[in-house]
C-alpha cells in the first residue's frame, strides 16, 4: 500500500464551500468557469459538496480557444457526463469569425488575449452576474491582490486600485445591472494544496498531467509541445521526450516539464522539490512584468 498522509487543510475546503454557497444565494445567474485544468476540476468537486444531495445549481462555461490539448476536451466531456453537469461551450474561433479579428502572428502567437473577448461576450449573451473561477492568489503577484468577490464593471474591467473592502467572511455581492462579480473560492489554496486535495478526493484529472511521451521542441530553455498551433523555427528540432504538464493552458502557450511522475504522490514530491514556479511554464505571463495585471484589468479570468 502506498503511504498516504492527509496534508490538505480541511479549513480550506470549508471556506471554499462557504464561498460557493454564497454565490448561489446572492446571484441570479452564476456560472463556473471551467478550463479542464486541475483547479477547475477541484472547483467542480467543491461545488458538488456545497450542494449535496442536490445537484450543482449552475452550469459550467468553457471558453474553447481551439488550441486545447485533445486530452483535456475528452476529459471535460466525460466529467460533465458522469457528474450530470450542464456545460456551455463558447469558441474563440466564432469570435474571430464574427468580429473579423486579426489573430496574432509570429512564433509566440497565442489566442490567450482573445479568450477575454469570448468570455465577455458569453457573459453578456447569458447575462451571467457571477463567474466562479479557479484562480489562486499564490499563482502570480497581481492575483495575490484579488478579493474573494471581485467586482467587474460593464466592460468586464478590474479596478485594482479601488477594491471593495472585504471584512471577516462577510461577502457583499450587490452589483448594478451589467456588472458582474468574479468569485475565487480557492483564493487561499496553493498549488500543493490543490494536489493534496486531488489526492485525498481521488479526483480524476486529464492524462497530460501525468508523465507521457510527446513530440516536443526546446525554446527559450523550456520544453514546448509540438502541435499544429505553433510555428517552429528551422533550428528548433522536434524530438520525443518523456514529459508532463504542470498547468493546463493552450498547446500554444504551455510548456512541459521533463518528468517520470505517473501518480499523484510522485507529482507532489516533484512539486515540493521544484525550483521553478507553476506559472513559470506559462508564456502568457512572461510578456512583461505586469502581464497578468494588464490582462485582469481587461477582464481576463
Amino acid at each position: 500500500m502506498e503511504k498516504y498522509i492527509d496534508n490538505h487543510p480541511k479549513a480550506l475546503e470549508n471556506e471554499a464551500i462557504y464561498i460557493i454557497r454564497e454565490v448561489a444565494a446572492q446571484f441570479e445567474k452564476p456560472v463556473l468557469l471551467f478550463s479542464g485544468g486541475k483547479d477547475s476540476i477541484t472547483l467542480v468537486r467543491l461545488a458538488q459538496k456545497a450542494f449535496y444531495p442536490a445537484p450543482v445549481p449552475f452550469p459550467l462555461l468553457h471558453i474553447d480557444t481551439g488550441h486545447n490539448f485533445p486530452e483535456t476536451i475528452e476529459f471535460r466531456d466525460r466529467l460533465v457526463k458522469e457528474a450530470g453537469l450542464k456545460l456551455i461551450v463558447r469558441h474563440v474561433q466564432d469570435t474571430i469569425d464574427r468580429k473579423n479579428i486579426k489573430e496574432e502572428t509570429g512564433k509566440y502567437a497565442s489566442r490567450n488575449m482573445l479568450q477575454t473577448t469570448t468570455l465577455l461576450d458569453s457573459i453578456e449573451e447569458f447575462g451571467f452576474d457571477a463567474c466562479i473561477g479557479g484562480a489562486r492568489r499564490d499563482e502570480e503577484k497581481a492575483r495575490a491582490k484579488e478579493r474573494i468577490f471581485s467586482v467587474r464593471d460593464d466592460f468586464g474591467q478590474w479596478n485594482a486600485k479601488d477594491q471593495r473592502p472585504e471584512l471577516f467572511d462577510i461577502l457583499n455581492g450587490r452589483i448594478h445591472k451589467g456588472e458582474n462579480v468574479r468569485v475565487f473560492p480557492i483564493s487561499n489554496w496553493t498549488e500543493l494544496d490543490v494536489w493534496h486535495y486531488i489526492q485525498k478526493e481521488k479526483l480524476e484529472i486529464p492524462s497530460i498531467y501525468y508523465s507521457h511521451q510527446r513530440d516536443t521542441f526546446v525554446r527559450d530553455g523550456m520544453i514546448w509541445p509540438f502541435s499544429d498551433f505553433v510555428t517552429v523555427d528551422e533550428d528548433e528540432k522536434i524530438e520525443q521526450r518523456t514529459v508532463r504538464f504542470r498547468t493546463v493552458g493552450d498547446m500554444s502557450c504551455t510548456a512541459a516539464v521533463a518528468s517520470e511522475a505517473s501518480d499523484i504522490q510522485t507529482i507532489i514530491d516533484e512539486i515540493r522539490s521544484a525550483i521553478i514556479s507553476e506559472r513559470g511554464a506559462r508564456m502568457d505571463d512572461k510578456r512583461s512584468e505586469a502581464a497578468m495585471e494588464n490582462r485582469k484589468k481587461e477582464g481576463y479570468f
Binding site: D6, N7, H8, P9, A11, L12, E13, N14, E15, I17, Y18, R21, E22, A24, A25, Q48, K49, A50, F51, Y52, P53, A54, P55, R137, D138, E140, K141, A142, R143, A144, K145, R147, A160, K161, Q163, R164, P165, E166, L167, F168, D169, I170, N172, R174, I175, H176, S187, N188, T190, L192, D193, A274, I275, I276, S277, G280, E289, A290, E293
Partner: protein, 414 residues
Amino acid sequence: MDVLRISTAGSVDDGKSTLIGRLLYDTHSLTQDQLHALEVASERRGLDSMDLSLFTDGLTAEREQGITIDVAHIYFSTENRKFIIADTPGHVEYTRNMITGASNSQVAVILIDARHGVVEQSRRHYFITSLLRIEQVVVCVNKMDLVDYEEQRYYEIASEFQELRSAFGFEGQQVQFIPASALKGDNIVHKSDKMSWYEGPSLLSFLQQVQVKKDEEQLARFPVQWINRPKEGEFRDYRGYSGKVASGDFQPGDQIVVLNSGQRSTITSIDTMDGQLKVAKAGESVTLVLKDDIDISRGDLIVKENELPEGKRQFASTLCWLDKEPLNRAGKYILQHGHFRTLAKLENINYLTDPQTLKKRDDVDTLRLNDIAQVHFKTAGPVYTDSFEKNKANGSFILIDPQTNATVGVGFAS
C-alpha cells in the same frame, strides 16, 4: 495540518514587504524563476541588491511608487503549519485595505522602524488590531541594523509601545516583542548573532509555535446560508439547511431555536457529501436536517435552546467608516450581519476616537474615511448579534450603500 493567518501592519517604509520577502527567501519558499524575476525587476530600478519587497507589491502602481496600496496574500508552509500572510498597506489613506487584511488574521505583526520608534501609523494599526480583538500581537522592531543593534534603543521602543498597550490593549491579548532586521535577516527566520542580549524567539519560530484560541469555545451560532431542497430524484423530499458554523458546535439531538421566528425543533442529522457528522464545529460547512418541517429562510440564525441571543432593533456599536464618501446622516444603509440583511439608520454618533491623540471627540456630525466611532443604530428588522468582544463571528457586520453597493462600513456590536 493547521493554518495560521497573519497580517502585517506598520507605517510606510517600515519594511513590511521586505520582511515577508525575507521570510520567504530564508525558508526557501521562492523558486528560481521568482528569484530571477525579482533580480530583473530590482536591476531595472537601478538597485544593487535584490529588493525583496517587489515580490509582494504586485501592482504596477505600487511598484512605480514603491508603496503597498492593497493587501497581498502570501503563502508558505513549514513542516506542520501553513501560513497565510496578508501584507497590508501602511499609508493612512489605505487603512481600509489594512482592515480588510487584518480582519481575517489570528496574529498581527506590527513593524516599527527602530530609528523612528512609535509613529502615528503604529498607533492607528495597533488601535485597529485591538478593535479587531486580535489576541496575538508581535511587535517587530525592525531595521535594528541602522541603530547598531543597540539594546537600549529596542527597550526604549518597547516601553513606548507598552504605553499604547495600556491605552488600547485588552485582557487576554499577548504581545511579543522581537528586535529584527528584515533587510539583513536578523531574527526573522534565523536567530541573530548580533543581538545576543535578546533571548526570545525569531519571528518564524514564534509563528510556528503560537497557539490561537478557537471559536469552538463560544455559544453555538449557525447562520442559515442556503436552503437545500433537491425537489426531484432520490432526495425528492430532502430539506436541509446549509451554512458554516459561526461559533460553538452542534450535534444531532440538540434542541434548537430558529431566529427570528422563534420556532423550535431538534437536529436529526448533520450532513456532508462525505457522510454524516457526530458534531459540527466552528468553521465547518455543513447541512443541518431538522425533525420538524418549519419555515426557515436564508438569513435566519439557528441557536441552541438555552443560549438565545437577544434580537435588537436599536443597539450600540463601534463603527469604522470605509468609504471615500462620508456617512450620509439622512440616508439608510443595508446592514449585513451573517446572511441577514436589513435597513439601518445611524441614530447617533456618541463619540469618535482619534488614535493619534487618544482624544474622544463628541462634536462630530458625520464620519469620514477611516474614522472610528461609537454609534447607535436603528434597524428595520431585529439583529441577533452577540457582543464582538465575546463572539467575533456573530458580533460583526458590514454596512452597504444601497445606491453604490459599496461596502462602506464595518461594525462591532457592543
